[in-house]
Symmetry: C2
Subunit: 460 residues, 2 copies
Amino acid sequence: MSKLDAALNAVDQNMDSSLDRLFALLRIESISTDSQYAKHCVTAADWLVSELNGIGFDAQRHDTPGHPMVVAKHGVQAGKPHFLFYGHYDVQPVDPLPLWNKPPFEPALEDTDAGKVIRARGACDDKGQLMTFVEACRAWQSVNGELPVGITAFFEGEEESGSPSLIPFMQANTDLLKADLAMVCDTGMWDANTPAISTMLRGMVGEQITITGPALDLHSGMYGGPAMNPIRVLTKILAGLHDDNGRITLDNFYDGVEEPPAHVKKQWEALNHDSTGFLNAVGLSEAAGEQGYSVLEQIWSRPTCDVNGIIGGYTGEGFKTVLPSTASAKVSFRLVGKQDPNAIQATFQQYVRDNLPADCSVEFKSKDASSATVMPVDAPAFAKAQKALSDEWQKDAVFAGCGGSIPVVGHIKNILDMDSLLIGFGLDDDAIHSPNEKYSLQSYHKGIRSWVRVLDSLAS
Amino acid sequence: MSKLDAALNAVDQNMDSSLDRLFALLRIESISTDSQYAKHCVTAADWLVSELNGIGFDAQRHDTPGHPMVVAKHGVQAGKPHFLFYGHYDVQPVDPLPLWNKPPFEPALEDTDAGKVIRARGACDDKGQLMTFVEACRAWQSVNGELPVGITAFFEGEEESGSPSLIPFMQANTDLLKADLAMVCDTGMWDANTPAISTMLRGMVGEQITITGPALDLHSGMYGGPAMNPIRVLTKILAGLHDDNGRITLDNFYDGVEEPPAHVKKQWEALNHDSTGFLNAVGLSEAAGEQGYSVLEQIWSRPTCDVNGIIGGYTGEGFKTVLPSTASAKVSFRLVGKQDPNAIQATFQQYVRDNLPADCSVEFKSKDASSATVMPVDAPAFAKAQKALSDEWQKDAVFAGCGGSIPVVGHIKNILDMDSLLIGFGLDDDAIHSPNEKYSLQSYHKGIRSWVRVLDSLAS
């Protein structure tokens, strides 16, 4: 039996214990954005250190001003190909909690029409995904006593909260993290049975803006008219961000946005994306983005602006005729091509300031900004990985775009000068960031097997 | 000693116990808009019944589908002038609670630069105000064994929550409530030492709108672009309600809005309103309402639209790149002159529907609508009351406008065919509907004395 077949066999034999280990990680409430869960993030980091040391890695926790990093090395030596694997052990908040059918941190297998699924916060994003890689290493190591390539595993715990410690840590540890190529498991399949390598990622700019008008909440009968209402100011500012064709109105916003090359567009068209089904699945029927672009183009190659949250005044039961002192919103932009996140952040802040009437002030709170990335799909590693995935799934792996933002990919490029191989096994209906998040059991099982094959393919 | 002087003397002698009784009422947490406080509304109604029966009224609690009404009669007989006195025993919610310097339902006297004040939720609106009338009746009754006029006292407990039971109750009890003229104590002084009779009130239309887009919360990376964001829809709709000059854009909105008569405008100008001081007191410097109108005109004679609350998406700490399923806002309009509240409600709902893009739906929840009212200031009762107030405060009482809405005044006109004498002792800085609401001790004391004089003046 070849080393590859032995490792694949080990994966299949040990699926029950692989699942137990994932469940143990899913039980840790590692919500990074809410400071009261900080100790659970440390628990998750320690758990990973212990697991990795148990399968031949040299793993260590690195504390930061925020949540810890984990870095682990296995078989890194001169002359052997060396890859940096990145994942994140933190998860999104769980609210609105009443919409979950079961507690989000009590993982369980469920039977669904589409097969068995693992249900829990983080089941897909990113605990399930990162564990496909860890378990692939375990299987190789258990039967072959080594890995086919050198691996540096790198896990952070702040991906869902803007990664404040990531850039300083990477800058201070370039030698520790530098390898030939990075691998990231935080993206999706093309569909439930077709694997994909994501070759484009949108970047992101996020700003929380809080507008203050009167010094205190006022009664709208006594002051309504002469007193400026900050909700009115905020809605006017937000409403001005899109024109009637769905385009974003900020000055120079589209600088650096390019149409994809003809051969890429052609490949996308050949995918025959079911746009109607994609929209219908979430209760929609029409693409609401920029006119003149297909749904795939709107997600993969066009920048967007969304208000992710807004609050002001009285929001409880009944009515209260208050004229509030403040109103705030969280606004994010998804970027493509060569759009400059810092320039867009500055332009947005200036736009808000330019539209503030007398007596209003604004405060900003910025999320870590990132630019979009486009991968060198002609490099040999991409062809090898594509073949490995196609072998496992018995279907040609697709080179796909991705509407999401994985800022670390930009940092890996800028700080470590490495490209990233983005392979993930999430599905469109995994409800990541939403109640009842899940990960298909097939994604987990064949995801582990996929990494076994990819590592084997990159050995030579 | 005249009956009047004896009653005024009794007021002064009994101020301590008058204050104790007000404090007892202020301790009752009668928040009407929040159903978990319903039992406290019943307690407040029962307390009033007991107090009124104790000073010679025949008082009864009348249960409704909402909070109870209290109706009490004293000396109503043919040939004697008969007045309906209205007040409300319910109060606004207390949030944001952290901004209160002391618990809102533990009333206390405080020394301030402007003299002693009574600090508590409802101290002014409307428990302090209604108690000025009750205590005036107590003083008259205690020394004279009767009241100078017939009185029907009428207290409701739903004024701060849209008065859902008021119209049905008034329609079913016209005989019980009918009198020669109504009196309402829910308005303010011109300034701390100048009494006022309010002769105009703005009406109100209130609508809660909830816009639904996608069937569930989505990830803005996966769906941002093609999926319509209901916050974007909501902000666009709200932002479209005002033009750049602060005018409201709804079709036919200004139908029925008239300029005040020249002599009224002249009287307002003679008041020398300190607009700068009025705005500076709440941290503002410029009138934000319709251009071309003074601050007093913007409050007294111009209609407005305010968003009183807005919420959607993730509003907790940190960032969550969610594309929410729903977003909602509470919108209210203050009306003047002959504006038709039902027509404006219908126009607003149609405006919202007309601006809904594909895949979005809207739900409305309406607050009880009311039209504006203008009082017959030339009727004899107004001159008598004006003289009584001027005698008490040793300053000419002002006929003033009022930016607030007291829907019951419209219902008293429409259902009972009676005008209302609006006399109140609130001050601009009483912080009604806000944290740290107060009522000046002078307002309470001289308010009681004022009603003693007004009742005396109306006897003949």
